[in-house]
Each structure stands twice: as C-alpha cells, then as structure tokens.
C-alpha cells in the first residue's frame, strides 16, 4: 500500500494512505443504506452527492480528482458537465395533444428505440418509496427508463487492468443516454406534457433508479448489486425520464437472475474488495443482494470506478443474456414439473 495507490491482497483491498486519511472514521455506509433494518423506509443517498460536505465527500473528491487526472476520463466528464449545464429543455407547450395512454406508450417506445444509443425501454408508475428520504417527491407520475448497452470489449478491459477504458465507457454511456433523454423529454414537452430527464452522472439525484427499472420490466437485481437484463446482461446504463404524459406501465419480470446468482460465484470471486457475499441480506425491510459499501467504495474510488463484477458477470458477455434467461426459466419449469 502506497501514498497514492492501494493494494489488492487475498483478503481484500487495502486503500492508499491518502484514501485512509480521507475516509470517515466511526461511520459506515451500510448504516446509511439500512443494512439489517427490519422496517421499510425510503432510501438515503450514501454516495455520489457530488458536494464534499458529507461523510464520504472527501473520499469521493479523491475519486473524482484521481479520475480527472486521466485526459480521456476528464474529456468525457467535461462533455457531460457542459451538456447538463448548458442544455435547457424547451417550455411545455400550452396546447396539450390528447391521445390514449396506449398510443403515447407506443410512440415513446418507438422513438426511444429508434435512437441507436438506446437498446431497451420500459415504463412504470413513479413510486414515492424510491425517492431519497430527504428529497421532495419529484414531479411526474410516470418513469420512462432507457437502457444503453455498453461496449463490452471496451468495458471488459478492466479485467486486464485497464480501468480507464472501462470508466470512459461508463461516462460515454451516461452522456449518450442523457442526450436521448433530453430529446425525448423535449418531444414530450412539445406535446404539452411535463417531462424531465437526468442521466446517471447528474448532480441532483432524486430517486434510486434500479427499483424503477426492475418495475419497468428491464430485469432483476444481480448478486453484484447491479441490474441484470435478459437483453443486455449487466453491462448497461440507465437514464430515467419523469413525465405527466398518460402512459401504460410495463410489468416487473422474473428473467431467472435469482436462480442463476444463487449458484454463480464469479463476481464474488473476482471482486478485489471481497465486498460481494453469496447470501441475500435484510436491507430496509427487504431481503436482497447487497454489496458491502465500506469494502466496495474504496476500490471504486481508487480503481476508476472498478466495474470488475459487471465485466466478470456471465450475463454481460454479448449474446449470452437472452439464452441464459431462457435456460434458467426452462430449468425452473422442469423442476416444477
């Protein structure tokens, strides 16, 4: 372990001396996340608040500054920042176009998927339970969830030690998703309905997007704490759009992820932080896969957002997810019969 770089050992990850200095003492992100809590409550944002005055703020600044030292990362982060701060959504048209929810849903999905950067789209009703507990419930009855497949060849370079390419691919995906999100939100506003779009790197996160994406039928939560889709595997990024336009919801789907993750040990084995466990945990009144925040985040900070678990996940390999999902569902049907 050095001053600027941590060390991967058999037992886990030892952060750099600077990271250890900046990491909060006598505090755990798992408490914020509600690990072990029996009662249901709205989530609290433990990380990525982007301002430094919170327990993990200094460590997050270390992550940002270390990442920004790479010209490739800073270039894409700058593009994202400019787009987010310069782009203004058009005013909501006063003339509201009336149509059936089915019609709007069909058009929205066609428009989203017509964009080469969007590969899956789902719709669900906004659930206030997803909103961080210290935020106001945002406007918009519906969530349109856009998913963009990451370039697996680029992303999986982290398995060979190239974490910068992986990080660039993540930011690029958010930028592209955000572009389509803005386009779609503007189109909805033109029809006379409120809409807002925020990419994953946005500063003002309001709600947890994974539960919304699961409800929108895009997939299920994987053992590594990221979502797994039966179309895109685990290697994709989400962009939510909130709107008042009347739409019809998709349904949450079981795509066989749970059955698979119960026996697969790949992500847990590959995780440099040893932050992934083989059991589900009680988190805010719900049994779910949980990644140990306090072990995961130091690696995330010092290895350019890491992403090893997603790259190692068998679902992420191109062309695998669909067949794997069908195989798991068939296997379960056989066992039930």
């Amino acid at each position: 372990m050095g001053l600027f770089n941590g060390e991967i050992t058999k037992e886990g990850y030892i952060p750099s001396k600077i990271h250890q200095f900046l990491w909060p003492k006598n505090f755990s992100g798992s408490i914020v996340n509600g690990l072990g809590e029996k009662e249901h409550r709205r989530p609290t944002q433990p990380y990525h608040t982007h301002h430094p005055y919170y327990p993990f703020g200094l460590a997050e600044q270390w992550f940002i500054h270390k990442a920004m030292a790479s010209s490739r990362i800073s270039k894409w982060y700058f593009i994202h920042w400019i787009k987010e701060n310069v782009t203004r959504l058009r005013k909501v048209s006063k003339q509201k176009q009336e149509n059936s929810p089915e019609h709007w849903t069909k058009i929205i999905k066609e428009k989203a998927l017509a964009d080469e950067d969007i590969h899956v789209v789902g719709i669900t009703r906004m659930n206030p339970e997803w909103v961080y507990e210290d935020r106001e419930i945002p406007r918009g009855e519906w969530v349109i969830m856009l998913g963009r497949r990451m370039d697996y060849d680029e992303f999986s370079k982290n398995l060979k030690g190239d974490f910068i390419s992986q990080c660039v691919e993540v930011i690029k995906s958010y930028v592209k998703g955000q572009e389509t999100g803005y386009k779609l939100a503007n189109w909805i506003r033109k029809q006379g309905y409120y809409a807002s779009a925020k990419g994953g790197l946005s500063d003002d996160h309001l709600f947890t997007v994974i539960p919304a994406a699961i409800e929108a039928g895009l997939g299920q939560l994987g053992k590594h704490g990221s979502m797994i889709s039966d179309e895109l595997g685990a290697s994709f990024r989400l962009t939510p759009i909130l709107t008042d336009m009347p739409l019809t919801p998709d349904e949450a789907r079981d795509v066989g992820v749970d059955d698979f993750c119960m026996t697969c040990k790949l992500c847990a084995r590959e995780c440099p932080a040893k932050a992934i466990t083989h059991e589900k945990h009680l988190v805010r009144g719900e049994m779910k896969w949980y990644t140990d925040f306090d072990k995961c985040v130091p690696v995330f900070n010092e290895m350019y957002a890491c992403g090893i678990c997603i790259a190692a996940c068998p679902w992420s390999r191109p062309g695998v997810a669909k067949n794997l999902s069908l195989k798991m569902l068939r296997k379960r049907d056989k066992q039930a019969a």
Partner: protein, 119 residues
C-alpha cells in the same frame, strides 16, 4: 509598433478574451451552485467544476496584452479566489480533512438526518 507586434497582440486578445469569459462563466456557475446547495441544505445539490475557472482566468490574465506583465501578474490571485471551485474549495477540503482526522466522531450524528418510515 511593427505590424507583427500588432498581429501578435490581436492574437493574444483572441485567446485571452475567451479564457477570461470562460473563467467568468465558471465563477458565476460555481457561485450559483453554492446558493443552490444552500437551498437544499447540501443534500446533493449540483457540483462545482473545480479549478477550471481559476486556471482559465489566470491564463487569460497572463496572455491579455493590456498593461505591463508585472502589473497584470499581481491580479493572478483574483480568479483563483473568486472561483469557488479553486482556492476556496481546496482550502475548505483541507480544513475538513484535518478536522475529520482530529475529531473522529464528526459524522456521528449525521445519520439518520430524517426518518420517514413507511408501510
């Protein structure tokens, strides 16, 4: 003044003015961000873009062909101090880091900030 010196001066204006405007943009944006963060009680308000505004301003001051270089250099601190993402940000970070290191229980009462248990 030769034609060449004149051309160089024009070129310096062409480079310096955008740099100074960029610096002003970041000074304004970061100030705006601070007020937005105060409004939401530092609960994930927008982020400042660090150092960029200050450095762009410094470069602009160095390049601009106005006054003697010696007279200009004494103003180098201005963009670095006015841009909240530059000296004010890093100074506050250093203070917070030292304070956090001395007072290990600084975040003890940070959570739960607010409970909103639901059924």
């Amino acid at each position: 003044m030769s034609v060449l010196t004149g051309l160089i001066d024009i070129l310096r204006w062409i480079i310096a003015v955008p740099l100074l405007l960029i610096s002003l943009y970041f000074i304004y944006t970061n100030l705006k961000f601070l007020f937005q963060n105060i409004q939401v009680g530092f609960n994930a308000g927008p982020a400042a873009f660090t150092l960029f505004g200050g450095l762009a301003g410094c470069l602009g001051i160095i390049i601009v062909p106005y006054m003697d270089i010696g007279d200009r250099l004494i103003y180098l601190w201005v963009p670095l101090v006015l841009d909240l993402g530059s000296i004010p940000f890093y100074a506050s970070m250093i203070i917070l880091a030292i304070w956090q290191h001395i007072n290990k229980d600084i975040w003890k009462n940070y959570f739960p900030k607010k409970t909103s248990h639901t059924q």
